[in-house]
């Protein structure tokens, strides 16, 4: 089945630095979503980018999508300790709205 695969699996940075996470997938999609998960909590939706969009911004988040390479990236600028969490990409299956999640990137932002 198609699946988003995140890279890196873990990322550790200092507060104020930028964090970039990448996601690759296998088949064509309608949209790609990014979610965040704090320890012990459920996933929270961050941003959705459609297949006809190349870049999208939301606050300190910037998402790009390259459908020719079947890849997306999530950039968090000026990171804060509160950004420490796991980040997941999810692609739709084009057949009923179900999402396929990647295994996530664990981001640690040190104060």
């Amino acid at each position: 089945s198609q699946q988003g695969e995140e890279d890196p699996q873990a990322l550790s940075i200092q507060e104020g630095e930028n964090a970039t996470m990448n996601c690759s997938y296998k088949t064509s999609i309608n949209n790609l979503q990014w979610y965040r998960q704090n320890s012990g909590r459920g996933l929270v939706h961050l941003i959705l980018i459609r297949s006809n969009e190349r870049e999208k911004h939301s606050g300190r988040l910037r998402v790009t999508l390259d459908t020719s390479k079947k890849s997306s990236s999530l950039l968090i600028t000026a990171s804060r300790a509160a950004d420490t969490a796991s980040y997941f990409c999810a692609t739709d299956d084009k057949q009923g709205g179900k999402l396929i999640f990647g295994q996530g990137t664990e981001l640690s932002v040190k104060p």
Binding site: S1, N30, N31, Q33, G40, R41, G42, L43, V44, H45, L48, R50, F88, D92, G96, G97, K98, L99, I100, F101, G102, Q103, G104
Partner: protein
């Protein structure tokens, strides 16, 4: 936070016992989902529902059944729990529309089967 409540939040039980997890929503969303989250596997879809009494299987449905008799409740049942079903279970909801919609998640149920 979206109005999603999962119960129980934690459960420890023995192999072979039946277990039912409940997801309750107050958002009147049509779609509801059950996922399991395991290290190295991310989130995997177990079953989902697209309306009252309308359900379908996901990627890892073996050993699980679901029921949805009301819009607000989606139950996940393990008829005879096995140790391989030890996991964290998440419920999610979404409302279909012309444009793609995000899913909203509960805070999970941590299930341990001994």
């Amino acid at each position: 936070d979206a109005g999603i409540t999962q119960s129980p939040r934690h459960k420890v039980t023995e192999t072979g016992t039946p277990v039912t997890l409940r997801c309750h929503q107050t958002e009147n969303h049509r779609y509801m989902y059950w996922y399991r989250q395991d290290p190295g596997h991310g989130l995997r879809l177990i079953h989902y529902s697209y309306g009252v009494k309308d359900t379908d299987k996901g990627e890892v449905s073996d050993g699980y059944s679901v029921s949805r008799s009301k819009t607000e409740d989606f139950l996940l049942t393990l008829e005879s729990a096995t140790s391989s079903q030890t996991s964290v279970y998440f419920c999610a909801i979404s409302e279909p529309g012309i444009q793609a919609q995000p899913q909203h998640f509960g805070d999970g149920t941590r299930l341990s089967i001994l």
